[in-house]
């Protein structure tokens, strides 16, 4: 009973302070929400980082090329037994669920943390498991250890160690406004969370 009263008071207080429409609480994760997202809100939002790495065909790829598009950024490695493949599969599924306009815009960028084993060829072959049915193919990136470190630091994720096998599992979603307002962690709901939030950060939704 006391708890209910307290909750009511809190709701009233919140109503007083915010005034406007309150974002719907997330039913896809158990964290307090920031904004209308179902993933984990980032306050303050992280700006889209700039780093340059090498893509699977050996060409230089600047992350700024994806500017203005909703972009999912993930750091992992291809020999990863569980988290990396499931995360990539979740991302692929979420993108596939989107309406055509959002689906064709959305960019997915995978950066390897295991520079020794993950050559361009290996990454390309691995990514093809996930993006075969999608209109916009996933981008796989590699580089020198220093470049990979710099990219992770620029994206504000914890730097990987142990040859890339201990790495941050965060999936960062940068919106059309070039800010990441939300990120995702490996869970049963990850795909639904991404699917819910993608239209919110794409240009169609904001215009």
């Amino acid at each position: 009973m006391r708890r209910a009263v307290l909750l009511l008071a809190l709701v009233l207080l919140a109503g007083c302070s915010s005034g406007g429409a309150k974002p719907k609480p997330s039913d896809l994760n158990n964290q307090p929400q920031a904004g209308p997202y179902q993933g984990f809100g980032l306050v303050p939002p992280l700006p889209r980082p700039s780093f340059t790495l090498t893509d699977t065909t050996g060409k230089r790829f600047s992350f700024s090329q994806t500017a203005g598009h909703p972009t999912l950024l993930y750091f992992g490695y291809t020999h990863c037994p569980d988290i990396c493949p499931t995360t990539m599969a979740d991302i692929a599924q979420a993108v596939a669920e989107q309406p055509a306009a959002v689906r064709s815009q959305t960019q997915v960028v995978f950066v390897t943390t295991d520079v020794k084993r993950d050559t361009g060829h290996v990454i390309a072959a691995w990514l093809r498991h996930f993006d075969t049915d999608l209109p916009t193919k996933f981008v796989g990136l590699t580089g020198t250890q220093a470049q990979i470190d710099a990219a992770q630091a620029a994206a504000h994720v914890v730097l990987a160690e142990d040859g890339g096998q201990t790495h941050a599992a965060d999936v960062l979603l940068y919106g059309a406004d070039d800010y990441a307002h939300v990120k995702y962690l490996q869970s049963d709901n990850e795909s639904d969370q991404i699917a819910h939030d993608l239209p919110l950060v794409s240009k169609e939704a904001s215009s």
Binding site: D149, A150, A153, D162
Partner: protein, 438 residues
């Protein structure tokens, strides 16, 4: 307590003191834009357009720098600009001192030629000290209680444990994070500096416009027998030699000059040897305690010129002479200037009476020629007259203002005029810019 922990506090003090000095220095200059332009001209190193840009824009720029320093935003850039400005001032002071110009610094308002001793050594030492304070802030721009400190609050990267730092992996990670945060800070600083720099430039340019507008002389600058360009002209225009006399009724050296050479000038006018143009300047208002004798006397003299040029000359002679009770009319510098009642008495003494006296009284007490006085003063400054008395014979400045050199210059100019059909500038006088000061 050690140096590392004291340093940012020292920086805070340096920042606030330097910023305060900039704002203080700008304040009185902002209030008197025309006066500061005249002070800049007196340094005699800038062309007219630049003197104006500096005179109007510099105080605004100084306020901007002061505000930035006190807020502690873009401290390094503000300190660099501060140091550069001070360096330019230093060069200006050194050149003025080396050329023997007797100037007041004008650093905190005022300026122009000074009567007393110059304080170049003190001014230069103060400048060097402030440059040192600026340099401190350039080297250590992050100070306590500053916006810069607030903006950099998230730039720190936690140092891992000592054990972890010994491992190649830990060190690599730490360095990568450090480098990333450093780059972000650099980009942020660049944008903030560019944006604020743009704002400061815009504000300064707008400030030039605003100050130029405020410096404009409002009101009527015409009079029956006086003009901005020529002052009051006594004598005939067909006289072979033209003499320009720039005087301030408050200036003691003008008094000396008038007492030694005044009768000589009057005689030469009468003999139609010269045409004298009296430029009644007023820039020594600060020398009388609050009642602006310099301006009021110049105005009264112009009011006398409305009656007739002859009355102007008589009134002018009374102001440089003695009153009916035999006392010297010119008030001592730093004393209370003569009252309007006294200025009216001098008019009676000069022989103005009847309706003319009534007209004179209303003109004098209402300061009807206030704008004209200001315009004549500014015109003189534009012509490079930075002190009084300045005497020009056919446009050539007299090197030393005394009877002997005046007579010599007039004689030489007259000789030249008689050989050539049109009066031409005489080369007899020194072109040195140093003139005796008030």
């Amino acid at each position: 307590m050690n140096w590392t922990s004291i340093r940012p506090w020292v920086g805070t003090v340096a920042r606030v003191v330097l910023g305060g000095i900039w704002i203080w220095a700008a304040w009185s200059k902002l209030g008197n834009p025309r006066g500061f332009v005249q002070a800049v001209r007196a340094y005699d190193v800038t062309p007219e357009w630049m003197s104006k840009a500096i005179g109007y824009g510099l105080p605004v720029l100084e306020v901007c720098i002061g505000v930035l320093l006190i807020l502690g935003i873009v401290t390094r850039a503000a300190a660099i600009v501060s140091g550069l400005l001070l360096f330019v001032f230093l060069i200006g002071l050194i050149q003025a001192s080396a050329r023997g110009l007797k100037l007041e610094c004008g650093c905190f308002g005022g300026g122009g030629t000074t009567i007393g001793s110059t304080h170049y050594t003190l001014d230069i030492l103060r400048d060097v000290g402030l440059i040192a304070v600026s340099a401190y802030l350039v080297i250590w721009p992050i100070t306590r209680f500053s916006i810069d400190e607030f903006l950099a609050r998230n730039d720190q990267v936690e140092m891992p444990s000592a054990k972890r730092m010994r491992s190649e992996q830990g060190q690599r990670k730490y360095n990568a994070m450090l480098e990333a945060r450093r780059r972000e800070a650099e980009i942020r600083t660049r944008y903030v500096t560019l944006a604020l720099g743009l704002v400061v430039v815009l504000v300064s340019v707008i400030g030039i416009g605003v100050q130029a507008n405020r410096a404009k002389i409002q009101g009527d600058v015409t009079a029956t027998n006086a003009s901005v360009a020529n002052g009051v002209v006594a004598g005939k225009s067909n006289a072979p030699v033209t003499v320009d006399v720039y005087e301030d009724f408050q200036c003691p050296i003008c008094l000396q000059f008038e007492q030694s050479t005044g009768q000589d000038i009057a005689a030469k006018i009468k003999a139609n040897q010269i045409e004298a143009r009296y430029h009644t300047m007023a820039f020594l208002d600060s020398a009388s305690t609050g009642n602006r004798y310099s301006s009021r006397a110049a105005n009264a003299a112009l009011c006398a010129s409305d009656v007739s040029v002859a009355d102007f000359v008589k009134y002018h002679d009374v102001l440089y002479g003695k009153d009916s009770s035999g006392q010297q009319v010119q008030p001592a510098e730093g004393s209370h200037g003569r009252s309007n009642t006294q200025l009216l008495d001098y008019a009676k003494q000069a022989g103005i009476k009847g309706n003319d006296l009534t007209t004179f009284q209303s003109c004098m007490s209402g300061e009807q020629h206030k704008s004209l006085v200001a315009a004549i003063t500014d015109k003189a400054s534009q012509r490079g007259v930075s002190g009084t008395p300045t005497v020009m014979v056919n446009g050539n400045k007299l090197g030393s203002v005394d009877k002997a050199s005046f007579d010599a210059a007039v004689a030489k100019a007259a000789a030249k005029a008689s050989t050539s059909p049109s009066p031409s500038p005489s080369g007899s006088t020194s072109t040195s810019t140093s003139t005796p000061s008030p």
